[in-house]
Symmetry: D3
């Protein structure tokens, strides 16, 4: 069923793009990481504020949330600013909710105490996979920011239980592919995002048929590929955070 | 690991709630279906308009989209109107995008021609599973509306290739459960939505860990349960559409 | 001057449409009434919340307010959602202010105490007279909700002094007609809404010439007809509320 | 039932406040009238633009509409700007719709042709009765603007069939009073606006019980008083327009 | 380089338009001044409120701010209302920030105490120079309002250290001109606003090349002309304030 | 009068911060320059689109405009996103209008033809002087983008007549300083922005007294210092553009 498919740069089907995490890209933030995955570049900044949203007040628990934005010229043709249009679009909402949920799954909110961490994920250049890159980069920025609280003696230990990372997988002309760039993504029949923790637990799996429905067997292969990629991302995160 | 869990009304773990589809609830719409799943009630109305959004003009292809709303008192405590707050929230955006994608996966856009179908899914009462009920009900409303175009001789045949339906599954205290009501949903460790076509293809699978990550084995059981439920929903849809 | 005019369904000029009030349509609300007047259907839900708006705080007095909405496909051609357009239109504002004022005229705010009652009036199907139907239905929903506070021992007696109901009258081709359906309304020279209390007091009379001015004599006949209709609505309300 | 009531300035119950209309207050507009009624001052400017809203295009008919605003310091305590709050309030919508309807009732839209007249009514100082003053002032501004089209030979004759004017009446401590100032209005049990044409036809009558319902007899007296006041306003308008 | 240029009304290049300040135009405000400069007319109303914005609370210091608006028909062709468009435009923001800064430069905030003064500057007619007229008029309205606090014994002395006034200068066909009207302004190569205090200090100088850059020498001449005009405005202010 | 003032890093009063321009920072844009001035970093991307705004259509002339944004964590404490707040603030409007005007002053719009160039200036890190850095960086990005049109043969020659650059000057404790960093800027008595063309013409001079008015002599010194800085920026731009 699958037509042999040649990936740009001769990448193997289960191979990540060249990926790097640069800590400290912005000096003003408590934690700052620039993640680059191929041509995709997302700047992830962590801000720790005292206090929590109303519904958590006096609960002794903290909160982690995310905001996502894209510079107008991150894309090949310019996208108007959401600030200019006066409202956040549906896609942006969907992505920032996903990032927030993913990060909250690995943070012990009681250990964090009544603090709010905001992860700002801003896409400087977009070539597919920006939301999963944002999760991976934001996790590293969050870990760095929380480490500083530990170093400063504010917290006895880092409230992050383990790392979390994410990648995309998809099916193009019947081939399961790991970490799709924009060109591949736009031809994909199926597009899947997988968020996994260091200990191998699944936090979020979202597989969407863009053109043709997929089978459970294909779902299995996509999960296998995603795990290969995410294992590699954990290594990069560990290297960056330390 | 799983604690035995008694469902409200002694429901079995792989049993749907009492579900019904009432066609023609609103006489003004081209297709109208009230879906009831337990206490959840969603009114799904299909509108067919000539013309398509700008990016499809002169393509010969049609478009199917959805809007989702909830009456303020669909819930036990009142929720302020989105119109009053002046913007559509992130959750609403996420749901209406999901409904739209699900329906588009079974419609032959070329056979539809340059027409836009809008599915308005309005929740009159909410007791969990409103987004999946909306997909199942909207599919029936869409089928009815398109049948009228065929009967009127406007279209030679119904551009809907097959039916699509959806249900939720989840894990509560370690037990996989089908079609969660609100009370179950609020305790769930994992919450999953599955959208499937009549021929068994997967259109959308979204599994979110609310508290603890899940394993691939649990993902498999959830998919099994979902398929049991959705098979039953197809019967209800077929009965309603004819 | 008047051209004889045949009403749809052979209705007499001073005859209401078939009207019914169904209590308990939504189980989640403190008071819920579905009012049907011909093809017009409005769901009226009452919510009682503790506390009052700022300007009434510590006054010992309560507040009653209303919100009005229309489902997009309540009408023969679809009307875009106000939530989607990001603002409440002038017509909606006008209607919700009218409903609120009408209900406040029969409630003893000191007996209500520092509570706010919100009446959500949502039009499921619109065939003329939705604002007056909303007043009549909302009054019944409000009475039911307040009765529950009395039954629960929260209030010693119902703070509603008497019932209030409303209907529309108009002039079509010179004929004064009671309770206009959409088709009649769209041809009307004059359109009038009358809100009256059980004891016969006028709360609100609004007569608008759409095409030709009207005389004081015609105004008198419209008030006579309105009173005939409203007397009948009080019977339906009393039956529903008990 | 009525307690004798002493009006500020010893005004009689059926006496208007000192009222004047100043034409040409703003030189930039096609028609401009400053109306003063006691301390109430409303600047009414008419703009005539070619073209009509979409639904009237190619109908050969014109359109007349109104906008209403209040300077922040028109009132004794400052009211925040609607532009600052980012939306037009319900009261403003209600008023501008009323002004528009009132003026349209006396204009022959076919004689106007495909032109749009916008009447901007801006309250410089508010002491009650701003909406009725706006109608009276805007009618004069409209007449002046249309006269210029006739003088310029653009139109063969003025499309305004007759004048229209408005005043308020109310009941204070049981006394029917004409043309209430703010202090009287804030104590009124009933507040009524009457819009009448020169030939005595009623265009709009709106009587609202703020505290106690009113009787049909009281409604009659209010209409009598309104007619006395409006007859005087027509004289002022005729003097201004010529 | 300069082409001899004949100003409307034979005005000299360094001559202000006929300018007047009318105090008490609106009786409701603490301070009210209508400034007229040629055909430009701006109504400036001062409101004094107790309390200050959040960031100044418990600082013992006051705040002075301004809002600017233009009636739709202040201009030769009608400008849509900002309230209608739902947002304040960039030009308005720029102007109200300028007015606020200018006035704050002459007020002793500690002497004012925790009070906020809002200057509403509303343009009734616009013929160039509205922002500088607003500064000059608002300064007078502010002085009047603060004088009342002194007269009432609320403040021991007026917290205004000195007066501030503003005018525009520009270059048209190479000629430096003082106080440009709209016709001149629209042909200007350079447009400059100068805000100066009574003691001769510069508060704000903004010179913008609309078409051709300007030299430092031209900048000097523009400042000379501005000073001539502003000296005259101080006389008018002093006369009005007393 | 001036207190000797030690600048961070021992900078001289008339010395720029270390400044660099990096071309090609974002590969997707027609022209892209990252400008760094001390810790201030602004990403300037140029987009060239065919067509012009409505008022220029069929004029044969082009248009150049700018948008300005700041990442939430560009600053030491996080600033909420304008997209989240649903509107562009006054400061942003003011800045993007300034950037647009500055660039338009050096472009021959007829030579550009009916094209629109949008300069997106996004602040990644803010340490004072972001608006002047944006002008300097955007000018370089614009030159690069226009050069590409010349290289591609679309335009016969670059429509940019000369370069334009900008810097800030100010007065701190009586000392005139060039190119203020945030710490200096927050203590400044006077803050000035100067925009100059390569041939020495002034395009925009804005000097604002934040605390004390300034003299004409001080204005002169500020202009001298600005010219020193801008001459250096032209060298950097020429080096980058080639």
């Amino acid at each position: 069923m699958a037509t042999p498919f040649l990936r740009p740069g001769d990448r193997k089907t289960d191979q990540l793009r060249v990926t790097s995490l640069t800590p400290g890209f912005v000096g003003m933030a408590e934690g700052s990481v620039l993640i680059e995955a191929g041509y995709t570049r997302v700047l992830c900044n962590a801000t720790i504020e005292n206090g929590v949203p109303g519904w958590l007040r006096n609960s002794g628990r903290g909160w982690v949330t995310a905001e996502y934005g894209m510079l107008p010229r991150a894309t090949l043709t310019r996208t108007p600013r959401e600030a200019e249009r006066g409202k956040i679009g549906g896609r942006t909402h969907e992505i920032q909710r996903l990032i927030g949920r993913s990060l909250r799954s690995v943070v012990d909110m009681t250990a964090l105490g009544e603090r709010t961490v905001i992860l700002d994920c801003d896409v400087l250049q977009a070539d597919g996979g920006t939301r999963t890159a944002a999760i991976t980069g934001a996790c590293a920025a969050l870990a760095i920011a929380l480490n500083k609280l530990v170093e400063a003696g504010t917290l006895p230990q880092n409230p992050m239980r383990e790392l979390v990372a994410a990648t995309s997988v998809g099916i193009v002309e019947g081939n399961v592919l790991l970490d799709l760039c924009y060109e591949e993504d736009s031809q994909a029949e199926v597009d899947m995002n997988v968020v996994m923790t260091e200990s191998g637990g699944l936090v979020e799996t979202q597989a969407t048929a863009e053109r043709h429905p997929y089978t459970r067997e294909q779902l299995g292969t996509m999960l296998d590929f995603a795990e290969i990629g995410i294992r590699h991302l954990f290594e990069l995160q560990r290297h960056t955070v330390r």
